[in-house]
């Protein structure tokens, strides 16, 4: 234990792990966030990695980062600027200068700051800190490579493998810095590497060395302690958005009694959904890694036709390819969950970066009058809830539902209390029943919600044909009749509109009589909520309305938007939701704050913008 006199108590701290994309910084970061969570801290994490799997070592393009926000109070975001940076090489230092506070603690592997390393990062002088103007930082310079080599010199591992343990040295140093007993970290590693004893032993040794290095040298900074939070009782795990989405689909399958089917094609940043579900055959989940995005959605439509809870997962370019098939599901009125994990666009865009620019595509990206449900998750953990609700709406209303998440939610993680499915609403598939047999036609509708009934192969007496051609509203035969087409178009739209009856109304958070209403949707919730909290604490009067249901909109949307003197819509695109609101609600003129940098909002930039609008 370090000198207690130098231990400082912190409410929140942001730590950024950074190094080559092969340095294991994602692993180190996630281990540290798990350690903090086990200690009862609130956590939120966000990886920031390049799309190159292994860019040239030491190069600027190969820098991979992982940010963790740890707190004793409620945490909503991975944090704006870091208090602590671990830079495993000069390139990591250079790339992250803009992501850290001027007085941050910077931990470096000094062995990599030689002429070669500095050259690869295009430094012109031998003092990178001076060159970058980082004069206020508190530096912990440790010869990590040298010490790791010395530590493992007796092992039978080759030089390259030995250096791969450098990240564990950094983790050990952090355990010292944040007063986390090294035993707990050792226990985590035991679980992580139990199948690879040689690597486990090397990592454990280096971890302890890192911890001792901090302890022994009393590195010239104080150490920190973050108190445990007051979280609700229960069993917790650390969950990423993509995992939570996959689990939400499984939960809906379990609750509805419909077996789960996923047709998908690997695409960043959505692939983990397919991977998670492919591993869950023990719960009867079937997945197909299809030949392309189109086959991904088409196999799902086929499965839906047979009575499965059918889903497809993708990102923006894949959603574009699926458009025509989603139109088929609209026309055939089959349940289908489409998960779009949004990334930077257009085209291939920024595959590993986050954005909210697929909203218009989800709403309008199909030929013809083709309405479907569009909704969005807003935290990594609530991807579970919204994947569940997307399934419920799809099945009970016989419609495709597009669930928008994004790269930030998908790869970001937060502590998640394991759900009790008893607390989730029932999902009741609208199957035909025997007494309908004499008169039933495929497009007969339930008068209560306008949904057609579901007859699936295997049900005797309900053989029928559906497809992409317009059908007669009465006989369900192919029809090109003018009035019938208008009628069916109206019926399909009305079915979606009536879903507003079963979704929750919009909640307003913050100050009830606010001067300005902040409006957001989807993955920006944490940043917007934090900004509203901080602004109100500073004496401003701000409210927040955050949307999870977009098509249809909650019933009270117009009333909420017209309640406040100023409305500011913040989104990570050029104003798609603002435009949608204007088209749906007459007489509103919301202000906009937009960003398309492939990065989440920063709480500070939202606050600054809100202040400028209040004073304007």
């Amino acid at each position: 234990m370090s000198d207690t006199a130098k231990m400082t108590s912190l409410e929140k701290v942001v730590i950024r792990f950074s190094g080559d994309s092969g340095d294991g910084m994602q692993l180190t970061g996630s281990l540290f966030s798990n350690l903090s969570a086990i200690y009862g801290n609130e956590i939120a994490t966000f990886p920031d990695f390049p799309s190159e799997i292994r860019a040239p070592q030491g190069s600027l393009s190969g820098v991979s980062g992982y940010q963790v926000h740890v707190g004793s109070t409620k945490i909503y975001t991975p944090g704006d600027l870091a208090d602590v940076l671990i830079a495993m090489n000069p390139a990591a230092l250079k790339v992250n200068k803009k992501h850290i506070k001027p007085n941050a603690i910077v931990i470096i592997d000094e062995d990599t700051f030689d002429k070669t390393g500095l050259g690869k990062a295009h430094f012109k002088t031998e003092n990178p800190f001076l060159e970058l103007g980082m004069t206020g930082i508190q530096l912990i310079s440790a010869p990590i490579s040298t010490m790791v080599k010395a530590s493992l010199s007796e092992s039978e591992m080759d030089g390259k493998s030995i250096l791969r343990s450098k990240n564990m040295f950094a983790l050990g140093l952090l355990c010292w810095l944040f007063n986390i007993p090294v035993d707990t970290a050792m226990h985590l590693l035991d679980n992580k590497f139990k199948k690879k004893p040689a690597i486990l032993n090397a990592n454990l040794k280096v971890l302890v060395d890192g911890y001792n290095f901090g302890n022994n040298t009393h590195a010239s900074v104080s150490t920190y302690h973050i108190d445990a939070t007051d979280m609700p009782k229960g069993t917790y795990t650390d969950v990423k958005g993509n995992q939570a989405t996959a689990y939400g689909l499984i939960a809906a399958s379990e609750k509805s009694g419909l077996p789960l089917f996923l047709g998908s094609y690997p695409i960043t940043p959505a692939t983990e959904i397919l991977q998670e579900l492919a591993a869950r055959k023990d719960m009867g989940v079937k997945t197909i890694q299809a030949e392309d995005e189109i086959a991904g959605v088409c196999t799902a439509i086929g499965a839906s036709f047979t009575g499965h809870l059918a889903a497809t997962s993708t990102s923006g370019p894949g959603l574009a390819l699926k458009s025509e098939a989603i139109g088929l599901a609209v026309m055939a009125e089959l349940p289908l969950v489409v998960v779009d994990v949004q990334r930077g666009g257009p085209s291939t865009g920024l595959p590993t970066k986050t954005e909210q620019s697929d909203l218009y595509q989800a709403l309008y990206g199909r030929n013809g009058e083709s309405p479907c449900v569009v909704m969005a998750a807003s935290t990594p953990a609530n991807c579970f809830d919204y994947a569940y609700m997307a399934s419920k709406l799809a099945v009970e209303h016989m419609t495709p539902v597009i669930l928008l998440t994004d790269g930030f939610l998908a790869n970001g993680s937060s502590a998640w209390r394991l759900p009790d499915l008893d607390n989730f609403p029932a999902i009741v598939p609208p199957f035909v029943h025997a007494d309908m047999q004499a008169t039933w036609k495929p497009y007969f509708r339930n008068p209560e919600n306008g949904s057609r009934y579901w007859a699936i192969p295997g049900m005797e007496g309900f053989e029928h044909r559906i497809g992409g051609l317009e059908k007669d509203h009465c006989t369900s035969a192919i029809s090109t009749d003018a009035k019938n087409h208008q009628r069916m178009t109206d019926l399909r739209q009305a079915k979606i509109n009536r879903i507003a009856d079963v979704i929750p109304t919009l909640e307003v958070q913050g100050t009830p009589d606010a001067d300005l209403l902040l409006v957001g949707w989807g993955g920006t919730f944490g940043h917007l909520y934090s900004a509203v909290e901080e602004l109100n604490a500073e004496g401003y009067k701000i409210a927040l309305a955050h949307f999870n249901y977009i098509s249809p909109l909650p019933r009270n949307t117009e009333e909420v938007l017209k309640r406040f003197p100023k409305v500011l819509v913040c989104e990570l695109n050029m104003g798609q939701f603002a435009g949608y609101l204007r088209s749906k609600i007459a007489g509103i003129a919301p202000l906009q704050f937009n960003k398309v940098e492939g990065q989440p909002f920063m709480v500070e930039e939202i606050k600054d913008y809100v202040k400028s609008m209040i004073n304007a």
Partner: protein, 338 residues
């Protein structure tokens, strides 16, 4: 998918009026499918017919079963989903040469490669009929159509070659007018465990009339086609005196009784041979120097995708009986807050 009851073809007729042009080859294909379904004995409610877009893809509307008329080119992907989700169903896919081999080429080769247990009826009239007469990926080189007024300058696909190239294990061919062979190969296709491809050569009476005439005309059909049957010698011809032999690396047509050739020199068809080489050559015969092969060219049993996946699910469930999401989540790294 139980074959347990006797049905009549009428029981597989829907209440919809068939709307193809008079004289269209698709009528014969529809009849053959309905007769095959009756003979197969799988109930209408256990049968699903999936199609894409095009004249022949209207076929599901005319069959009393579960059916889906989908979107252009995607029938193979949708049928893959239907069969994988519920392997108990008898799944038919009806598609045309444009639907299957142009816009749907990718799904077709992958359904064949995966060996999904579906019966693909590839209705090949070498033309786009529903869009009124454009050349298709099976139109012969030089074919003049509305979009190739100077003749095409591209080689056509040969569906047999493509199927074998995609490692297909069942391929058969028939002519629309040959109801007997059509039913014979469709029944074999339906009973084959795995992806079966039946190429049905049909006539488009409006936009490509007579495209298969050189094969189908009764004056020379017997001399220009051969109906292959497993275990039987490859003999054909009006007088049943022609046969096929191996000559070097090639097939050769011979006449029994000439040049010392006797019936025992004639190749015996082995549709179950794992090696595709000879099937490839048989599938490639054009009806010019060598007779066009009809009947089942290849029928080899291999691992079936939908069954193998079902087996994985069964095994995984047996390992963790009645596992619920809550049970699984507890296996993750968790901690208690009390």
């Amino acid at each position: 998918m139980m074959e347990n009851k006797t049905y009549t073809p009428a029981e597989f007729k829907s209440d919809q009026d068939v709307r193809w042009c008079p004289g269209c080859g698709d009528y014969a294909i529809l009849n053959s499918i309905q007769k095959t379904m009756a003979e197969l004995g799988v109930a209408p409610h256990q049968t699903a017919v999936i199609s894409g877009i095009g004249c022949s893809s209207r076929l599901p509307y005319y069959i009393n079963s579960y059916g889906m008329h989908t979107i252009h080119g995607r029938a193979a992907a949708i049928a893959t989903g239907v069969k994988t989700a519920n392997p108990e169903l008898m799944v038919w896919m009806v598609t045309g040469d444009g639907d299957c081999l142009a816009i749907g080429g990718n799904h077709f080769i992958h359904a064949v490669r995966r060996n999904v247990n579906i019966n693909i009826i590839l209705v090949n009239n070498e033309i786009y009929g529903l869009t009124k007469g454009q050349y298709s990926p099976t139109s012969k080189m030089g074919f003049v159509s509305k979009t190739s007024p100077f003749g095409t300058v591209e080689e056509p696909f040969r569906p047999a070659q493509l199927t074998f190239g995609a490692r297909g294990d069942f391929f058969a061919r028939t002519l629309d007018i040959d109801l007997k062979t059509s039913q014979e190969v469709m029944l074999a296709a339906a009973r084959h465990p795995g992806c079966s491809v039946v190429e049905a050569l049909t006539n488009c009476v409006i936009f490509n009339d007579g495209t298969h005439k050189s094969l189908s005309d009764k004056d020379f059909r017997a001399d220009r086609t051969i109906v292959l049957r497993h275990g039987q010698p490859m003999i054909y011809g009006k007088n049943q005196d022609k046969g096929l032999i191996i000559d070097g690396f090639d097939l050769k047509a011979v006449t029994i009784g000439e040049n010392g050739i006797t019936e025992k020199d004639i190749l015996v068809h082995d549709a179950h041979c794992e090696d595709r080489t000879l099937h490839f050559k048989l599938g490639n015969m054009t009806g010019l120097d060598l007779p066009k092969a009809m009947g089942v060219i290849r029928a080899v049993e291999a691992s079936v995708y939908d069954q193998a996946l079902e087996q994985q699910v069964t095994d995984a469930k047996a390992k963790y009986p009645n596992r619920k999401l809550g049970d699984f989540l507890k296996t993750l790294e968790t901690w208690e807050i009390s």
